[in-house]
Symmetry: C2
Subunit: 219 residues, 2 copies
């Protein structure tokens, strides 16, 4: 019945919910404790301060989302649909990213190396898809990646705008249907010009990629 590890997890879960809903400033430690069914004192016993708990949540969530990219399909239309699904299923993650973005004081707190590696790998994967002819070889891959993330995150990050524009909430199933269709179209549009949509797994043959080999990568 007495189990500190269990208590920590109950707090983390409750804190995640509360911080996702209200953010750092808006969240109340008392509310977290209540939600966790735990004495408020335990928050500070386990995590030191409200802020420390918050950044712990942020760190965990961003680490947790590292895995989701590993199974990214080569074909862009499929990848976009998959990302969209991920966002819809984990709106809390989107909201945490948003709180983090607005927290001007956050600084590089949550920018641990693992996160950098994650995005580097993502861009590399995309570049590979490009070399294999799944993607037009004209655009800057980093910016393409940002934009693809943007397109999939956006409706869940700004539901009020999605609703104003389409008249539907992004949770609406009609929205989902339309969105999926659109993302498929967009993904295929990003394929090289000659080829409407790159074949799956034809990996071998590179599309020669003439002059576009320059890696103008970040850093």
């Amino acid at each position: 019945m007495r189990d500190l590890a269990r208590t920590r997890e109950k707090i983390l879960e409750a804190a995640r919910a509360e911080f996702c809903a209200k953010g750092l400033a808006g969240a109340r430690t008392a509310a977290i404790a209540r939600r966790a069914g735990v004495n408020k004192r335990m928050l500070f016993y386990c995590f030191g301060s409200k802020e420390d708990l918050y950044y712990e949540i942020l760190r965990r969530k961003s680490a947790e989302s590292e895995r989701f990219l590993e199974s990214m399909p080569d074909r862009m239309s499929a990848a976009l649909v998959q990302w969209d699904e991920k966002c819809r299923e984990d709106v809390d993650w989107v909201r945490l990213l948003e709180w983090e973005a607005l927290d001007l004081s956050a600084g590089p707190v949550v920018i641990q190396p693992a996160r950098r590696r994650f995005f580097k790998a993502a861009v590399a994967k995309l570049r590979l898809a490009q070399e294999q002819g799944h993607l037009s070889d004209e655009p800057d891959i980093a910016h393409l990646f940002i934009s693809l993330v943007a397109v999939t995150l956006f409706p869940y990050a700004f539901p009020q705008l999605a609703r104003l524009i389409t008249g539907m909430a992004p949770t609406d199933e009609n929205f989902l249907a339309e969105r999926t269709e659109f993302l498929r179209w967009l993904g295929d549009r990003l394929a090289p010009r000659g080829r409407p949509a790159a074949r799956r797994e034809g990996a071998a043959q590179r599309a020669d990629g003439a002059g576009s080999g320059e890696r103008r990568g970040p850093r």
Copy 2:
């Protein structure tokens, strides 16, 4: 020396800055008053409550941004570049949209009819561009519009992700140069298949989409 209208405006300006930076929950009425060089009592004298003041700011900003679309170019590449510029110049607006998105209790408070009309007009304008052959006629226009807004807003709404992905802050002028080039490419990609990039019609024909003639100069 005594001028209530002036006082109101000083408060509104200070409140805008404070709310953009900290959001509703994070902002402090005392800080707003200090920033405005005004007695704290005046906030409540003029606007009733912190919340009322906040939603007044939200309403004003969203009304203010109604105009910026009127001059939207037909050509998608030019439109994207212009929107990007708008976002970069008015990051506060982006941040307010973000705070609004996260405020679950906001409800339809700021969804006044004017805003609906604004987006309706935007979609209509885009649909017109589609009919005139500036845009592929396949995609759902509402979803295309969301996505274009997404692509232009995103780097300023999630600067931490932009930095993680490209290695640069979105305020960096190198970022601007790359981003502009990318947006031009993307815009042209949305043109109908046969036509790489639709002609401007009235204006003298641009140097088509070949990409190298663009003025990528910052500012």
